[in-house]
């Protein structure tokens, strides 16, 4: 038994390192858990991308849940996410609101022209001030906001088919069950 002790200790260390490696592949190390989760979304008042004279506020969107998707034409991974949103958009069960982040409107429109426009509504935050209130620090990021304006789920990084099936759809289902 005494002879085995160092070997057991070694195997414990191997298991610990193995767990560390496994754990780091299981989650995005750059993702910061949002303190805004399950709290009211911050108030905002942003111009529409296609009609910049019309403003959209948080109050305008209350009453029905929506998925706020932060994207930009300069964001490479948004191009990865886009086909997933286009395919899933109509079947999501919530409105899809595009949040154009720190982008020149002309670039954003060209990008949407090339990649397609799955959004029910598009708002633009060119200076990026409102995004700070949302705790946005890059793109893409997505917020699921319920009818009362509470953030129910946040995803940092692109929505892949896997994220869509395992996280987003269950989150939407749970939310709709509670407040249809």
């Amino acid at each position: 038994m005494n002879r085995l002790l160092p070997f057991i200790a070694f195997m414990l260390l191997v298991a610990l390192f193995g767990f560390g490696i496994w754990w780091n592949t299981q989650h995005d190390q750059n993702a910061i858990p949002s303190p805004l989760l399950n709290k009211p979304a911050p108030a905002f008042n942003l111009p529409k991308l296609y009609e910049p004279t019309q403003m959209v506020s948080k109050a305008d969107l209350l009453g029905k849940p929506y998925l706020l998707n932060v994207f930009a034409s300069w964001c490479i991974e948004c191009g990865v996410e886009h086909p997933v949103l286009e395919a899933a958009g109509p079947s999501l069960g919530v409105r899809l609101v595009g949040y154009n982040y720190k982008d020149a409107p002309a670039d954003a429109k060209r990008w949407l022209g090339e990649h397609g426009n799955p959004y029910d509504l598009l708002v633009a935050d060119e200076p990026g001030h409102t995004a700070i209130d949302f705790g946005v620090y890059g793109a893409p990021e997505s917020f699921l906001i319920d009818a009362k304006g509470v953030i129910r789920y946040k995803h940092i990084g692109p929505i892949t088919p896997e994220v869509l099936a395992k996280e987003l759809k269950p989150a939407i289902a749970a939310m709709l069950k509670e407040t249809p």
Partner: protein
């Protein structure tokens, strides 16, 4: 990585050019080449600083020092190994601007930190506060140290008792120790 660059991207440009020059003037003695490289390195550090800390219209030198002190205690949410003072990520620039604006409004360091924590969680603090969520972070190492001390203490006690009861067993076990 969601954004294409965390750093300035200057390192290659700044170092590359002098290097090319050096190779074109090939018959340079080694000392001169070294000097050229050193000059290039110096120029490179200057460039990075000029880019990372863009000039801001501070009300006073004291305020500038306060700004620098504060941004060095805060972590960039995008490039998590960089301070807000050092990072070139777009979000770091936006947050530096936000901090600058809040300073002009007379906000205290504590208020500014709280503003950022409310949006980006404790991740932005290099010195995380002591609360139930961070107990493991603060006391975890101490627990491990105490566990190790416990193991050592038990081993010593066991050896002491074994030594008094039958010294032959003790010497045999310590021989085993040498074998490994």
């Amino acid at each position: 990585m969601r954004l294409s660059s965390c750093g300035s991207g200057f390192s290659r440009d700044a170092l590359g050019e002098p290097r090319q020059k050096a190779s074109r003037l090939k018959p340079l003695p080694q000392g001169a080449l070294l000097r050229l490289l050193l000059v290039a390195l110096l120029a490179f550090t200057g460039l990075v600083h000029a880019q990372a800390i863009e000039p801001m219209p501070f009300a006073s030198h004291a305020q500038e020092l306060r700004f620098q002190h504060l941004t060095r205690q805060l972590r960039c949410p995008m490039c998590q190994n960089e301070t807000l003072a050092d990072s070139n990520a777009p979000i770091a620039r936006d947050l530096r601007n936000q901090i600058f604006q809040m300073m002009q409004q007379g906000k205290s360091d504590e208020q500014i930190k709280q503003y950022l924590v409310d949006r980006y969680s404790n991740y932005v603090l290099y010195d995380p506060p002591l609360n139930p969520g961070t107990w493991l972070l603060w006391f975890g190492p101490l627990l491990i140290l105490m566990g190790g001390a416990g193991v050592v203490w038990m081993a010593i006690r066991k050896r002491d008792r074994g030594g008094r009861a039958s010294p032959t067993i003790d010497s045999r076990s310590s021989n085993n120790g040498d074998d490994w």
